[in-house]
Symmetry: C2
């Protein structure tokens, strides 16, 4: 065990495996490590070299999701402006998470496992509470339902995007329109 001096090659390979894992698992949560290795254009041996265990790989994907979610929360400025607007910004930002969205929504990986260090869930809760307080969110809907609607709409939008039959711009438009109509007071 030398100190982890990550060379460029290792970083690149690791990223390729991680990306492939996200891509493949989003489509087939029970996919074998062999399938993931193939998708990453890497030998199964190499995959095991980087992630000895299936659990290790999943943990790494989960951690990656945590990071990305954290970035998303910052970019969306969830703590600024009216609650509804914050949620709409969150929609646009989170769409960039791509297949990670699928893994989170289908609970192939779990938000809780990231720890609450990311603070995304917290920030989302806050934005929802703010929106209910400032009158931009429909008070007849519970915080849990509001958040659930947000996630499921996001998942739907990403599904459409991935299918590729609808132009990205249209998908975003319909997503924002639907969420605004559904959640606004």
């Amino acid at each position: 065990m030398t100190v982890e001096l990550e060379t460029g090659t290792r970083i690149r390979t690791r990223k390729a495996i991680l990306d492939a894992a996200v891509r493949v698992l989003a489509q087939e949560p029970g996919a074998s490590l062999g399938q993931i290795a193939d998708a990453a254009d890497v030998g199964r041996t190499t995959l095991h070299r980087y992630f000895p265990d299936r659990a290790d790989l999943l943990a790494a994907v989960t951690q990656e999701a945590g990071h990305r979610l954290g970035e998303a929360a910052v970019r969306a400025r969830l703590d600024e402006g009216p609650g509804l607007d914050a949620l709409l910004r969150a929609c646009q930002t989170c769409l960039t998470l791509g297949d990670l969205l699928t893994l989170l929504f289908t609970e192939t990986i779990s938000l809780e496992a990231c720890g609450d260090e990311d603070g995304f869930s917290r920030a989302l809760d806050d934005a929802i509470a703010r929106g209910l307080a400032d009158g931009t969110l429909d008070p007849r809907l519970s915080p849990a339902w509001l958040q659930g609607t947000l996630w499921s709409s996001l998942y739907l939008a990403w599904s459409e995007l991935r299918e590729g039959t609808t132009p990205p711009h249209d998908v975003v438009g319909q997503l924002l329109l639907t969420v605004r109509k559904a959640l606004s007071a």
Copy 2:
């Protein structure tokens, strides 16, 4: 192969296995046959006696889903009244599908495999087209998006119901409210 004279016992056992399969697979799509047999309070041997193959079991569940969807379509009177109202009736009716909803939404079983004999998808498409024509559905949203929103909202509602933390009446209320707001013109 005698003529399939299904005795009461056999019908009951078969149903128990099928129900358990739906329940277990909804929670864990990759569940083993042993888990399903346990959930059905039945030996694994017995399960294989009814469904020799895992594929056979899945096919039976799929067929069951087809029947239930067909019934739902009839009960919801999808071909009557304004399009939006038909969709709202469909929401209420489909909620009774329970875990089957999860299996369909997560594509553990596929609608297509039922054949189009059920006619549910067709009826839904028609209702959406009618709603766009009669001005009760938002013309800015594509038929695919309208249908997707319906399904994902249903899935969300069933998730809440299953969790059991929200009273059923409230869940239905929020579901109908959300769908109406999101989809109406």
